[in-house]
Symmetry: C2
Subunit: 151 residues, 2 copies
């Protein structure tokens, strides 16, 4: 998945940053999921899964990225922001994205087990745009290899 | 709503503590919602709405109570715990309660606008018991008076 010198789109650059967070999570022994919040082309919040490290079931990548972004921007709404995350958000995180009014959500690979669309398809903010973005195979492979190594 | 010297049930004592948190939230200018987590008859986590204070849309009473309880107990699951909250949990908080595997959830008054049952009736953990508890009128009145004073 070497990008080499190819020109990346903004979505690719941002999702690459989310994947960087996912790799850091994996190194820390966490389920490898990462997220970033982008505002006006700039990353304003980063988060990676820290559930084990913090022993906190709410410490998902998206929650930490949202909290970092609101702190960074000094605003409780992220209305003109895009959240990039390596895995489809769960119910909790989609609820958080709704409260934060994040206007665009891009995820790399879907989560047929715990993704929001299974348990709460009506959870997203009605004005939110949700898209499947780049690097889906890499994000899925990273999760697959993590779980197969743990078995 | 003076309790006087009447004997309180465990649910009443715990919900009273959740309401105490809600009153503290109100004093701080927050939407008055409070929560506590009880394990073996003991309050192991407290939380009140701090969205404005922290400018963090994820700083709901339940999230903070869950995080406090997991930190206090040193465990990421709250399997044998009950969460008491003055208002029906939203989608985000119900998702968090699912991840934390909180086995019993008691709320004082329902939230027909943003409660989980409207947007995500399938969000709760399949083994979770969810009940409407005591002091519903007081919890609803507290919210009503907060919003009418702000208008």
């Amino acid at each position: 998945m070497e990008q080499g010198k190819s020109i990346q789109t903004e979505d690719e650059r941002a999702m690459r940053a989310a994947l960087d967070e996912a790799y850091l999570a994996k190194e820390a022994g966490e389920v490898p999921i990462g997220a970033v919040v982008v505002y006006q082309g700039r990353i304003v919040g980063r988060g990676r899964n820290r559930v084990e490290q913090l022993q906190d079931p709410t410490a998902h990548a998206e929650i930490l990225a949202i909290t970092a972004a609101t702190e960074n921007l000094g605003a409780k709404y992220l209305t003109d922001c895009t959240l990039y995350v390596s895995l489809e958000p769960c119910v909790m995180c989609m609820g958080a994205l709704r409260w934060a009014q994040v206007s665009r959500i891009v995820y790399a690979t879907s989560d047929p087990k715990a993704g929001y669309h299974v348990l709460a398809p009506k959870a997203p903010h009605p004005r939110a745009v949700i898209e499947v973005g780049p690097f889906g195979d890499e994000a899925a492979g990273l999760l697959r290899s993590f779980f197969s190594e743990r078995r």
